[in-house]
């Protein structure tokens, strides 16, 4: 895990260094300096340490990053961490709510679909899921805004102002992702339902709810780790949703940074996403081992 993190952070930093021809110029531009003289460039270089070799710069950056100090923004001049923190939490809130909704919807649809496999409810759900995965999320979001916010005036169009603000973004995200994950749940369930132990449980005459619990426990093992790995993906994909709904989150922040080429912010964003990704992957493995007793034996 850590070597990977190190590699990713180095690549991030390295790429920035390579593509950022003259950060001093960028900073001066942003500061609105009318005349860019070599003197000014030297001053900036000294101030920010751009003259030092790559590895030293990288090391400094890394050490600072571990202390959650991501430097100062090229554009606004204030602390990157200070801007990222509230944005990160806003995105986190949305991600958590959306992920919960996605998991809940996928499992429900997957179970219903598996139990009625081949029959009408299953076919309807599958066709619907198929259609939903082809829809671009920003298109659906815009449609929803037009319809629910403007025409019906039911929900706020943007921003984060209380519980109603969550409804549209979460719905859009759920529609986009549930179609994909429900398929995993369904195929796991169908696979389990055909197994011998299900027949034996039924032959023992236990309640159908008990049977379902046994089946779910096995079927969801794979699904749980997929869900876990998907949370950072959902978080990263929030960029589009945050843009449309003007949600004051990490996605919006980094979008601005990308367009303005504000590199410290970009570096911080990429690093955070990479870290989250690696952490959640490891978490998924841990959960898998906890749920599947056979895997546990391997570790013991």
């Amino acid at each position: 895990m850590f070597p990977l993190l190190l590699a990713v952070s180095f690549i991030t930093f390295g790429l920035t260094y390579l593509t950022n021809e003259n950060p001093a110029v960028a900073i001066l531009h942003a500061q609105g300096a009318p005349n860019i003289t070599p003197q000014l460039i030297d001053e900036i270089n000294a101030q920010y340490g751009f003259n030092q070799p790559l590895l030293i710069q990288y090391w400094q950056w890394l050490v600072q990053a571990i202390h959650l100090d991501f430097g100062t923004s090229y554009i606004t001049g204030d602390s990157v961490a200070g801007r990222i923190a509230p944005a990160f939490f806003n995105t986190l809130k949305l991600t958590v709510v959306a992920s919960t909704a996605i998991i809940f919807t996928s499992i429900t649809l997957g179970v219903v679909s598996a139990y009625t496999a081949g029959r009408l409810p299953d076919r309807i759900i599958r066709s619907l899921a198929f259609f939903l995965t082809a829809l671009p999320s920003y298109w659906v979001a815009s449609m929803f805004i037009i319809y629910f916010s403007v025409k019906l005036n039911l929900l706020p169009t943007s921003g984060l102002n209380g519980v109603e603000s969550y409804i549209l973004p979460v719905t859009v995200v759920t529609l986009s992702y549930a179609g994909i994950y429900f398929r995993n749940v369904r195929s796991s369930m169908v696979e389990q339902l055909n197994k011998d132990y299900v027949l034996y449980l039924k032959a023992c005459g236990v309640q159908s709810s008990t049977v379902m619990l046994h089946v779910l426990r096995n079927a969801l093992q794979v699904a749980v780790s997929i869900f876990c790995m998907s949370i950072p993906m959902i978080m990263a994909g929030m960029v589009v949703i945050e843009y449309i709904f003007a949600w004051p989150g990490l996605g919006q922040l980094s979008l601005k940074a990308i367009l303005e080429q504000d590199f410290p912010v970009i570096q911080a964003y990429v690093l955070i996403v990479a870290v989250l990704f690696i952490v959640f992957n490891t978490l998924a493995d841990v959960i898998n081992a906890w749920l599947n007793p056979r895997l546990r034996e391997v570790h013991e």
Partner: protein
Amino acid sequence: MSLLSVKQLNITDTHTHQQLVYGIHFQLEKGETLGIIGESGSGKTITCRAIMGLNDPRLQVEGQIYFDGVDLLQLPNQLLRQRRGGDIAMIMQQGSRAFDPSSKVGKQMFETMVMHTDLSKKSIEAELIRYMNFMKLKEPKQILQSYPHMLSGGMLQRLMIVLALALKPKLIIADEPTTALDTITQYDVLEAFSDIKKQVDCAIIFISHDLAVINKVADKVMVMKAGMCVESGSIEAVLFSPHHDYTKYLLSTKQKINHHFNAVMRGEYHA
């Protein structure tokens, strides 16, 4: 009145419109053991699953299955479920696949016992351990706390028998319980079945394709081929003076193998 009376059982596959079982007709009294012999694909398993109502919904079952005077095919699923386990217990072929791989074996057995008996947790455990000792399973408490992948196929098979006995059903359906086992374990399981016959007062339907096994445990026999019953009767009648060609064929091939085996053992062939 017989315990189990199957009349004119027909099973059709609604997807392929193929008839899988034709007019099966047999009776079973309390305490009797019926052996059903047939090759793979002869319809033995789906006939017995029909008794428990466990066939895939696409298999259409017609006829009458009277158990204790009630036609099981007319019962709604809820009432049928109550009879499963409590009145009719099942033992499957592959012990290693019969238990939920993510639950401890004891948990699954407990759930079944709780469903069908009013005993306290301690009494259930005591009952299970009693039968586990009867089936010669060592360290019963540890076994109950194990996961299925930790136990061998033979042990799991015996656990299924333990559960079947503990439920004290009126009928046990054993679907090729010895087929997946090695010879030594087979012997143990068959001994157990003989003991069950002597000590417990329940009817048994024993499915197998092995004539020797049927000979050892069954009182009466039904021979199935391609979904039909070709011959039925008492053990002595069918196995020693068969009428139908197919039965004769089964017996003769078995005899040939035995004969050859004995000849090799006597040293007559250089095997």
